[in-house]
């Protein structure tokens, strides 16, 4: 497994910091916390332990611990008052870092990095860290809260920590105050934690107060601390529940209007999100990005009985934010609605301003799609390839290009990797077996070009959901040579989407030889992870693939798109050139530095231009232009 910790922070003046550890009983936790904390780089920092009225051995043990100052409170004042007592006792010139006593400090330079993040922008007031559970799962990379439920959610929570959210400085709505670096200027301006809360919501409240005063809250992605969550109170779930509900009511009364007022647009989004399809995966990302861009989106499933996809959608998307969007109320005729899916469901659009957002993998669109698109105020497609296809098919309505994107928190070159330990160079491809993806061309060409004695392998992640298709027979029919390049298959295995970046990072080169693409999300995600890529030089992905960041695969021309999919009938797609594919694979295998450089360039370009935030901002611009 590779390490994903970034380069050391730039030198920043070591502003004095008071590290405020709040403790109440549980000496076992406090002892471990202090032992690990005191072993880290604490230049120009003082450790102040606030003993919040402990009744166990904590007072005596603290008195015997060197290197700390102790503030003893006679009774437990709770999290807020306890921390405020510590802030009041801190050096009035110093920044303050609030720390829970159930933290474990396993990173020597955590404080210099938080300091550097705080110093990177004069308007940064609060800096948090990534928090990880002792079992290796990510617990916290910032927080968000939806006005609908007023229930704060932690970003990245409980995912296996594979290096997601490691951007050095990333602005967020809030952080949990298990670890919070607060600048002195902010403390001087807005004071300590609000006394409206005894525990819970005080951290989100503080970040909102900071924002109202013009300060930013960020997470420093290069700092990860271990948090044995709720260590000091985990034996009393009833009191936790009571505290939570009381604080939530207080928070709603205080911030409800402010949070609801943050939305600038309202939109009905009719699509699909709880099935393993390309539209569903991208729909989820677009919805999250739109919410972040202040669009109050309500989601409704656009397929179901009497549509081309008659299944009912499962209710649970296993994502809190998306579940809330699904239950938002919406009028029967909302001002604006987007149907994101195949154009043959555009007729379900309920908006007064109707927008249809679709894509297809061939050079034109079926007649009934065009008829449905003609009834839209405007049509969105992700690529010039599809805009031209619609125009050629007779659509006369306005067509806007709204590209899809990538979440660079989950797809970036610094992710954990599990590379082949045998040292073989690994080409990788991921596809559902079918005519469009041209698997035979890839397997046959690789097997012909390489020999089994060469240190190279092709790994194919293959999906087959068609009971009429016998994959073993299909592959045997290719008559692959025993002495040819060796191929392994990941067959019908589904990985959590958040882990796919790690899969790509574990390979050396991504190959996509498909005949046509409406976008090619796996290719874009692999490129965002810094993988060099070979991809057919035809289709929608030409928006982001070029000679400078990848290896475009020449085509011999276009041929009739003959496939099971009825939408392709009468249209054409690409005929990739096997000789050029052979040449490109050999080229990448023998010129690895060149390939790595292209991969690195791809990762930079995608992070700069092709994220979901870019997508959401283009959508917001279109909504504004349409008066929606």
């Amino acid at each position: 497994m590779t390490d994903f910790v970034s380069t050391p922070p730039a030198a920043a003046p070591a502003r004095k910091a008071t590290l405020l550890v709040l403790a109440w009983n549980r000496w076992d936790l406090t002892e471990k916390c202090l032992a690990t904390l005191l072993a880290t780089d604490l230049e120009n920092a003082e450790v102040l332990v606030v003993d919040n009225g402990s009744t166990d051995e904590t007072p005596q043990r603290l008195a015997a611990t060197p290197g700390i100052r102790v503030l003893r409170l006679e009774k437990n004042l709770g999290f807020v008052r306890g921390n405020n007592a510590g802030i009041a006792a801190a050096d009035p010139e110093s920044d303050v870092v609030l720390l829970n006593n159930d933290l474990i400090f396993n990173q020597h330079d955590w404080l210099p990095r938080l300091r550097a993040a705080a110093a990177s922008d004069p308007k940064i007031g609060v800096v948090g860290a990534r928090l990880r559970l002792p079992d290796g799962r990510l617990l916290h990379a910032g927080t968000y809260i939806l006005p609908d439920t007023m229930w704060g959610q932690q970003i990245g929570s409980l995912e296996q920590d594979l290096g997601q959210y490691t951007t050095e400085v990333r602005e967020v709505e809030g952080i949990v105050f298990a670890c919070a670096y607060i600048k002195r200027e902010l403390l001087d301006e807005i004071g300590g934690l609000a006394l409206d809360f005894e525990s819970y919501f005080e951290d989100t409240d503080y970040c909102l107060r900071a924002r109202v005063a013009g300060w930013k809250t960020v997470v420093c992605g290069s700092v990860t601390l271990i948090h044995d969550e709720h260590g000091s109170t985990q034996n009393d779930p009833d009191s936790l529940g009571r505290l939570f509900q009381a604080s939530r009511a207080t928070f709603r009364a205080k911030w409800g209007a402010e949070l609801s007022g943050r939305y600038k647009h309202r939109l009905l989004w009719q699509s699909i999100m709880n099935f393993p399809t390309g539209y569903a995966m991208s729909c989820r990302e677009i919805l999250r990005a739109l919410d972040s861009e202040r669009v109050e989106v309500a989601y409704r499933y656009v397929y179901g009985p009497r549509t081309v996809f008659p299944q009912n959608e499962p209710e649970n998307s296993e994502d809190y934010r998306l579940n809330v969007l699904r239950t938002r109320r919406v009028s029967w005729r909302p001002k604006a609605a987007v149907v994101y899916g195949q154009a043959d469901v555009f007729g379900s659009n309920r908006g007064r301003v109707k927008i249809g957002y679709t894509m297809l993998e061939v050079d034109g669109f079926p007649r009934d799609w065009v008829r449905a698109a003609q009834k839209m105020a405007e049509v969105w497609v992700p690529s010039e390839f599809n805009r031209q296809g619609f125009r050629d098919s007779g659509l006369t309505r306005p067509i806007e290009i709204i590209p899809l994107g990538v979440d660079t928190n989950y797809f970036h070159p610094g992710l954990s990797a599990f590379p082949n330990p045998h040292g073989e160079y690994v080409f990788f491809s991921a596809f559902e077996w079918g005519e469009r993806k041209e698997p035979g061309l890839l397997l046959k060409t690789f097997n012909d070009e390489f020999g089994c004695d060469e240190p190279v392998r092709l790994v194919c992640k293959v999906i087959n959901r068609d009971p009429g298709l016998k994959l073993k027979e299909e592959i045997r029919a290719l008559r692959l040579r025993d002495q040819g390049g060796r191929i392994s298959f990941l067959f019908n295995q589904e990985f959590p989407h958040y882990q796919l970046g790690s899969l790509y990072r574990s390979m050396d080169c991504f190959v996509s030889v498909s005949r046509g693409e409406g976008w090619n999300m796996p290719l874009m995600e692999a490129m965002a992870c810094g993988l060099p890529a070979i991809a057919t030089d035809w289709g929608a992905h030409r928006e982001f693939v070029n000679e400078g960041n990848a290896y475009p695969l020449r085509i011999r021309g276009t041929i009739p798109a003959i496939a099971k999919c009825p939408y392709y009938a009468g249209y054409r797609w690409a005929d990739p050139d096997p000789d050029h594919l052979r040449h490109l694979m050999r080229r990448v295998f023998e010129h690895r530095e060149e390939a790595r450089a292209k991969g690195a360039q791809a990762a930079r370009e995608i992070a700069d231009r092709w994220t979901w935030r870019h997508t959401a901002r283009k959508i917001v611009a279109r909504l504004a232009a349409l008066g929606a």
């Binding site: 599990f418 040292g423 999906i463 298959f489 990941l490 067959f491 019908n492 589904e494 990985f495 796919l500």
Partner: protein, 100 residues
């Protein structure tokens, strides 16, 4: 007569030994036939594992990553990237020339 008895015992021992050799030859032919049949019927990986077990070595780790070992299905199975890749790499026999 001692000489006649010695000759008789000797002839009997030879006869027993000849019978034993004939039995062993027959067993060898039968075993060879069985091995040839195994070689015809078993996939390469099973044959390799049979040899490794016979030599007191552990079997090559099993993976689901080669055509012959797949179970053809249209059902998707959920997997973790880390566990799957570690299993995949472990199941492979590296090329001798592999250098990273």
């Amino acid at each position: 007569m001692p000489n006649d008895r010695d000759a008789l015992e000797s002839a009997l021992r030879i006869a027993r030994l000849e019978a034993r050799v004939a039995g062993l030859e027959e067993a060898l032919v039968r075993r060879s036939r069985e091995l040839r049949e195994l070689q015809r019927q078993l996939p390469g990986r099973e044959l390799l594992n049979l040899s490794r077990r016979a030599a007191g070595l552990p079997p090559v780790p099993q993976g689901r990553y080669e055509l012959e070992i797949w179970r053809e299905t249209t059902a998707l199975s959920t997997a973790s990237v880390e566990e799957t890749l570690l299993d995949l790499w472990q199941s492979l026999t590296p090329t001798p020339s592999a250098q990273r």
